[in-house]
Amino acid sequence: MSAPTELLNVQIDGVWHQFPKGTRVIEACAQAGKFIPHYCYHPKLTSPGNCRMCLIEMGMPRIRPDRKPELGPDGKPIINWIPRPQISCAQDVAEGMGVRTDSKMVKDCRNGVMEFLLINHPLDCPICDQAGECHLQEYSVEFGTSGSRFLDEKVKKPKRVELGPRVTLDDERCILCSRCIRFMKEVAHDDVLGFVSRGSLTYLTAHPGKLLDSNYSLNTVDICPVGALTSTDFRFKMRVWFLKETKSICTSCGTGCNTVIGTRKNEIFRQTPRENNGVNSSWMCDYGRLNFHFVNSADRLKTPQIKENQDLVETNWAHALVKAGEELKNFQKDEVAVIASARMTNEELWMTKKLIDSIGTSHHDVVPRTGSADAILMSADRNPNTLGAQLLGVTMATPGAALSNIASGVKSGAIKAVVALGEDLTQIGLASVDLKKLASLIVVDILPNDTTRSATVLFPSSAFAEKRGSMINIKGRLQRLNRAIQPPGTARDDWEIIRDLNQQLSGANGIYLVEDVFKQIAEAIPDLLGFSLSKIGDQGVELVTENEEAPATV
């Protein structure tokens, strides 16, 4: 352990506080309840001090000839105030420092900067995607004026600039804070953005011949304090104030970036990163962020189906479950295989393990999904819950090790029935003709594929945004998914479908709440002892779990 951080005495608006050495003045003020408006400052990036919105009055203790501070009647240092306003975003607190955030000088500064930022701004809020979450709007209310003194022609700049495949720029809205430039340089390590031209004519652009096509490009949209950078995917789709926001996690890789899912009328409009310094800082990759459109797909499976005379026909849940149970009872235990997914939640995997045990088969595994890690956030493991699948016994030390055996078993006819949970079996080397050979193929999934088309019983289930539950990321952090929207049609939660299947086989008693499923897990798995779904919280908890591959810290 390092030595405790030195505490420094700082006077803010007449009140003395203590802050650890190394605290930024702007952060110290925020902690003292004195929010300082700012545009260019971002706690995760370097401070250029260019917007001048965070100007404050600052002073240092008056020093006596013996180099000790002169004390006032209250025993506290007398402060010599610097006559010029100072920025609060680039300096750390110092012993005896004085700060005024509410003086006339500070108010004048904020008022002046707000006016300057707006004179050449198009003020096109009615059609701007940022409206409702725009710092220009917010600070205008608090620090601006209602009228304009600007009588001249505004500066004209490029509009609708496709900076890259996913980001559209309106240079007239840009306040030149350089957050996006710094993010691309300092975090995404792709120094592709910059300013050109000079003075009030300065505008943002990409380097000639290059595009803002980094897999992290959409983070620039998040940190843009105004409507200059917009997501090409999201723009003009929905006013942000209509969006219901649900805290969840991204399930596109093992990192498990924390997210906010923005929905309206049971439709997802966007996913944005949510700060979690133990996982994703304030960022997420574009791939994960945009990997939600399939949830809104018109092709989603909505009703249970069973095979009758080579055709899948719709049926009701009770009938489908009974039929699935009856089919599975026809086989010896090792004539059945269970292919689960490391994209399932812990709760689903727990129910899956129970189903495996009820069947008694030794043929079970998950389908590994790998890519290359990028040293920023993206993990080589493209399954979000491989650790969960291992911990709960659905797969073993090497996920996917059992798959080739299962595939050859299906081909040879030794395996006669397969339960496929969220995975397309063509991914493990089985063709449609192989699947046709199966006497029983029970499939739980959300979208049609070769496996669902070959199913004997098909259950429509829920996508990541439609369910609650937990996952364990690649670093061993237990995190929570939350339900942002309802599944389509009569589709159900996966854990409930698997529970009902298991009931058909084992006659076991039902369990009705996902919280209770987690409780069962916590009682059975030592690593999770003492946890509950609610105790996981919005930031997740780190488990003491072996951790082989960890993504680089951001």
Partner: protein, 459 residues
């Protein structure tokens, strides 16, 4: 380069400009050596670096670029024994409107500059130095390149200079045509290959975190030439030139409405504005009266010929005497010009007579600063263009009776709130022009207005 004044005026004291327009003088090293060139360098190598720093401190030399910061104190910020290399940069980005002194040194006496630089580098232990020359001086850059090559051939630059064990390389770095590159941290960014956005101070004080985040000294051309002379005559002797706290000579660049504009090297504080205009520069043009003077380059606050200024002078008995003087009696030195609310700045003295329209003059200055604002920080970026738009409208129609007030408050919202001194440079003209000639602004706005009183609707 053809000079407007080939013979120095009798009141001049030519030290730095000793060789400018000198008959038979050329800018090659042979000519310089024949005249005793590089003797001060040899002398400097007999001294310890800290001795030279002390001589410069004793001389009272203040920076000739514009801010007037004491040169020795600036050098003193470089702590000896540091682990990072020290860099010295000669600021030859002479771009302040009304200023044209450094270019003559570069063109006609480049070796004087190099000798001053080499001595200065030895004093602060800089082994690598740059001359940052503005892009608009292509010939100057060539001359300097040539002079450096000559100095290398003679062993004044390079390894083990004159057997002293001191190594130094000097490179010429050409700007690309931006006024902001004269701001020392903008200049440093430019050398680093970036946009010349001035750095925030703190933490980026050049003496601590300068070029490549190493201790860096940035000095003006004229300042570095003075260092050579200080080594020649000693700091104490140098301090006798000029006045207390305003030592040495300054090259004053007089432009505008005088009979004989041009450059004049004079002892600092050795002349008043009136003496300069009437005795040295031949007075106003026929039939014209003095109206205003901008005494330190276009960013200095304008002084009106009809204003009275209260100044304090220390008497022999220590008492302070207050007296009221007119513009013509104001001494041209750092402290006197600061005392009357302006500054000595870069030494560019712009004279305006009664034929000048002050709105036109301010608009001319505003156009320059709107064009040159780097655009990094909000108040300067937006305010400089706004001020220009207002003065332009006042001149060419569409003015309202609110314009004068708005103009002044825009300037007030810039000054003191920006990253670098450009904020002051662009707002001081407006603040002072409106303060001193408000009636003219109101009248001009009334003439060009569309008859409406502030009813022009925002666009």
């Amino acid at each position: 380069m053809v000079s407007p004044t080939r013979t120095p005026h009798p009141r001049e004291r030519r030290i730095i400009f000793k060789n400018i327009d000198r008959p038979g003088w050329t800018n090659d090293i042979g000519c310089y050596l024949q005249d005793g060139g590089y003797e001060e360098l040899k002398k400097a190598f007999t001294m310890k670096p800290e001795q030279i720093v002390n001589e410069v401190k004793a001389s009272g030399l203040r920076g000739r670029g514009g801010a007037g910061f004491p040169c020795g104190m600036k050098w003193g910020f470089i702590k000896p024994g540091g682990t990072k290399p020290v860099y010295l940069i000669c600021n030859a980005d002479e771009a302040e409107p009304g200023t044209f002194k450094d270019r003559y040194i570069i063109h006609q006496d480049p070796h004087q500059l190099l000798e001053g630089m080499i001595i200065s580098c030895f004093a602060v232990n800089a082994r690598l130095a740059y001359i940052y020359i503005r892009g608009e001086f292509p010939l100057g850059a060539k001359i300097l390149e040539n002079a450096i090559a000559e100095a290398k051939e003679h062993g004044f630059v390079g390894k083990n200079i004159l057997g002293s064990g001191f190594d130094l390389d000097i490179f010429v770095f050409r700007g690309a045509g931006a006024y902001i590159c004269g701001e020392e941290t903008g200049l440093i960014e430019s050398i680093e290959g970036k946009r010349p956005y001035p750095r925030i101070k703190p933490p980026y004080f050049p003496a601590v975190l300068g070029l490549y985040m190493s201790p860096t000294i940035v000095n003006n051309v004229e300042t570095l030439c003075n260092v050579k002379y200080i080594v020649k005559i000693g700091g104490a002797e140098y301090a006798n030139i000029g006045r207390t706290n305003n030592t040495g000579t300054r090259i004053l660049c007089v432009s505008g409405d005088v009979q004989k504009p041009g450059y004049y090297e004079l002892e600092v504080g050795g002349i008043t504005i009136g003496e300069l205009i009437y005795d040295v520069c031949g007075g106003c043009k026929p039939g014209r009266k003095l109206k205003a003077v901008i005494p330190g380059g276009s960013s200095a606050k304008v002084l009106s010929a009809t204003d009275r200024y209260t100044i304090k002078t220390k008497q022999a008995d220590g008492a302070t005497l207050e007296s009221e003087i007119g513009l013509e009696d104001v001494r041209i030195d750092f402290d006197s010009l600061a005392a009357v609310g302006s500054m000595a700045g870069s030494g560019g003295i712009i004279v305006m007579d009664d034929s000048r329209d002050m709105v036109w003059a301010l608009n001319n200055i505003n156009e320059f600063y709107a064009h040159e604002s780097c655009g990094q920080c909000t108040p300067c970026r937006e305010g400089s263009l706004w001020m220009k738009k207002i003065t332009e409208r006042m001149l060419h129609g569409g003015a309202t009776d609110q314009d004068t007030g708005t103009l002044l408050s825009v300037a007030d919202n810039i000054a003191g709130r920006t990253i670098c001194a450009f904020g002051e440079a662009c707002s001081w003209p407006t603040q002072s022009f409106v303060a001193k000639f408000r009636d003219e602004f109101v009248a001009t706005a009334g003439k060009t207005g569309n008859g409406q009183s502030g009813l022009l609707s925002p666009k």
